[in-house]
Symmetry: C2
Subunit: 421 residues, 2 copies
């Protein structure tokens, strides 16, 4: 068994955490921003230092490859992203990049023999924080392999037209044209040239920490759906309109939101998660009874039957009375549970066992680029314990030891693929 | 008994409705806008045509006065505003101006004898739609007479610095400096020169219509308070954070909002109105559990004891559990019930009776400039039936007959003051 180096890993964590330092322990590092180029250039510098070959594709993804001994063998790739949400943490995304670097650095430092070329890859614009949507570039690169209902949301031309949420004008395509990392379309990730993909990531939840496990052997990305629940009332003056005649859309929404909690909780599925994160209220003035309110609901579970049970509860809402308001529901999107490649999952599990690293099976509740890649080539993910389950915020933290444990598991799983294929 | 003229009134309604026509039956006519000057100039033109003397004060209020036979008598004033909310109706505010014009036009046309000078007045910036706050200029003009807790919110310098909600830069003071209607401070409404004030207004609620009454004899402006109810939770990823560990601020707010309705309704006070019109959610992203939510609550009732009962329900919120979130409440403002001058209310009631106009006593739930004026001189209001209780929206409507009935009541009430003083 080979092990990665905690000191080298810690040095990378400290170095990359400077690129976009937002002043409260975390970072803001939008895709194609000066801060992102600092991180990308550091990646290139360190990978060139160990003899890796650098390539870029037409959507600015970067590939650093250590050649293997078999000239006919396909590449094994470890990929993640270096962009963040606004005021995000030092681990989401970049851990997968640093883990891939650490694997290649360990291979180089210890002269570990391998037949296949092994690649560390940076995906462009995973978060979609500045140029929506999230997972934009993996959606472009894997487009031909995605289910049509997903693929249509990631058409190249539409993605190039995505506008900055900051200025509402600059497009992703303009920034990409100016990018020093824009390369050749032929370099894009593809199943002819690549054998398998791994993505190391923080858990972003508290399950591993609560169970005392350092590493999660991810088996799937949970199926999910997202609905919008809408209420149509009647605006009137707060001071002059009697209560009995009101159709208050915010009161309607509050009642329905509580009803959803009560009914969904009756299903008694502790592993089910559902979130009403966004609410819109019109006109949203303290002296006016709201005439329109909607809220989002995001529901995730492995089993499509459980998702259907929740959907049935939502579908029953328009039949009920909500403070005299009309209720409508609208599906925004949904995806089926994506299971990782069983062979790769087995290699991850075996590697953790052989290394003596406390681990468990776990589902991914969040979406990742690997999920789109999985439609194109065998793919899996490895999770690392997140302190307090925090993510997408500056206090996000994983210990250098846990990060290194995750990289060691990935290294050995990569070598198992290398040996098997 | 004298009666106003429905044809002349209808002509005014049709004419003034053009100034700021927003295309859906109503108007957008911000204070000190080109549309407002069209309305003001029409007022001046028509008042000069009947021999009224035009004056302006330093905050662009306009006064049109018909002299009386007694050179020592104080003025009787009828005042309202010609500015509107965005996409407001053709009646709120402007009805009081048109009603005052109609009274003077009737007096002129019918040569009705009167001792006191009688004045029609336009207040500047009642709505505060472009330059907040509402009732800005009456707050300035009546400042020395207002209770200190209210007066401090309307200090001249602060009001001049109020910024346009459209560009966030232009100040009310700058626009006032440029105003062709900026006059002399000595012309301001004052108790030495003015005997009494009337304001004719639409009801903005459905009470008169439901009761089949054309006119409301307003006895008070309801006491009210406005609180902010705040919930502090914990942000985490929608897909990765187990339900049992969540502190969801939006779920907390929804529960508390429903609880408030349940508890307040138990007080069984049908004339009490309370409104949760505004909600703020952070970060308001569909994939993140909200960590902060607050909503406004506006509560209005004549009896301070009833207001206190509601306040006690709100004060009990922080002691309870709301989805694991901390709850705080914060008073934003409050005002006591303002009773109109009993003598003037009596004149309004007697005039409606003598004219045979169906009427009733009614409270004002909304605030009006007359409310601030009432701290300075005897003041009262007259309401006109509102179709469907609609107001602050383009379908706002009152029939020409009801508007004229309101003006006739005001005319005769003014003449009763003229005779009595």
């Amino acid at each position: 068994m080979y092990k990665c180096d905690v000191k080298r890993m810690d040095d990378k964590i400290k170095t990359f955490s400077k690129f976009g330092d937002a002043g409260h322990g975390g970072i803001t590092r939008y895709s194609l921003s000066p801060e992102a180029y600092m991180a990308r250039n550091e990646f290139i510098k360190r990978m060139e230092a160990i003899g890796a070959v650098i390539e870029m594709d037409d959507v600015a993804d970067i590939y650093a490859t250590l050649p293997g001994t078999d000239p006919n063998a396909k590449r094994i790739v470890m990929a993640s992203h270096c962009d963040s949400v606004k005021n995000g943490g030092n681990y989401d995304g970049i851990l997968g990049v640093m883990g891939a670097m650490e694997v290649l650095e360990t291979i180089a430092a210890e002269n570990i023999p391998h037949k296949h070329p092994i690649t560390a890859m940076i995906w462009t614009n995973e978060e979609g924080s500045l140029y929506p949507p999230a997972m934009m570039v993996s959606g472009i690169v894997c487009n031909d392999y995605l289910p049509p209902a997903i693929a249509k949301n990631f058409k190249y031309e539409n993605m190039m037209a995505s506008k900055s949420v900051l200025d509402g004008a600059t497009t992703f395509g303009e920034m990409l044209e100016k990018s020093p990392h824009k390369g050749d379309k032929k370099n894009r990730l593809n199943p002819d040239q690549y054998e398998a993909m791994f993505e190391l990531h923080i858990e972003q939840g508290p399950i591993l920490e609560d169970a005392g496990n350092e590493v999660g052997v991810v088996d799937c990305v949970l199926g999910m759906f997202n609905y919008r629940i809408k209420f149509y009332g009647f605006a009137a003056h707060a001071g002059t309109f009697p209560m009995a005649k009101r159709n208050d859309a915010l009161y309607a929404a509050a009642q329905a939101l509580c009803y959803i909690h009560t009914e969904v909780d009756k299903l008694n599925r502790p592993e089910l998660v559902y979130t009403t994160g966004e609410i819109v209220c019109h006109p949203c003035v303290h002296t006016v009874i709201p005439d329109y309110v909607d809220f989002s609901i995001d529901v995730r579970h492995e089993d499509p039957k459980v998702l259907e049970q929740v959907m049935n509860i939502l579908k029953s809402l328009p039949e009920k009375t909500w403070a005299g308001c009309k209720c409508e529901i609208a599906e925004q999107w949904k995806r089926d549970t994506v299971y990782w490649n069983k062979e790769l999952v087995g290699y991850v599990k075996a590697s953790a066992e052989e290394l003596g690293i406390p681990h468990q099976y776990i589902h991914s509740g969040a979406g990742h680029d690997a999920q789109f890649a999985s439609y194109m080539l065998p793919t899996t993910m490895i999770f690392v314990q997140s302190k307090d389950g925090l993510s997408h915020c500056e206090p996000e933290y994983s210990t250098p030891e846990h990060c290194t444990a995750g990289a060691s598991v990935m290294l050995n799983a990569v070598l198992k693929v290398d040996a098997a294929k």
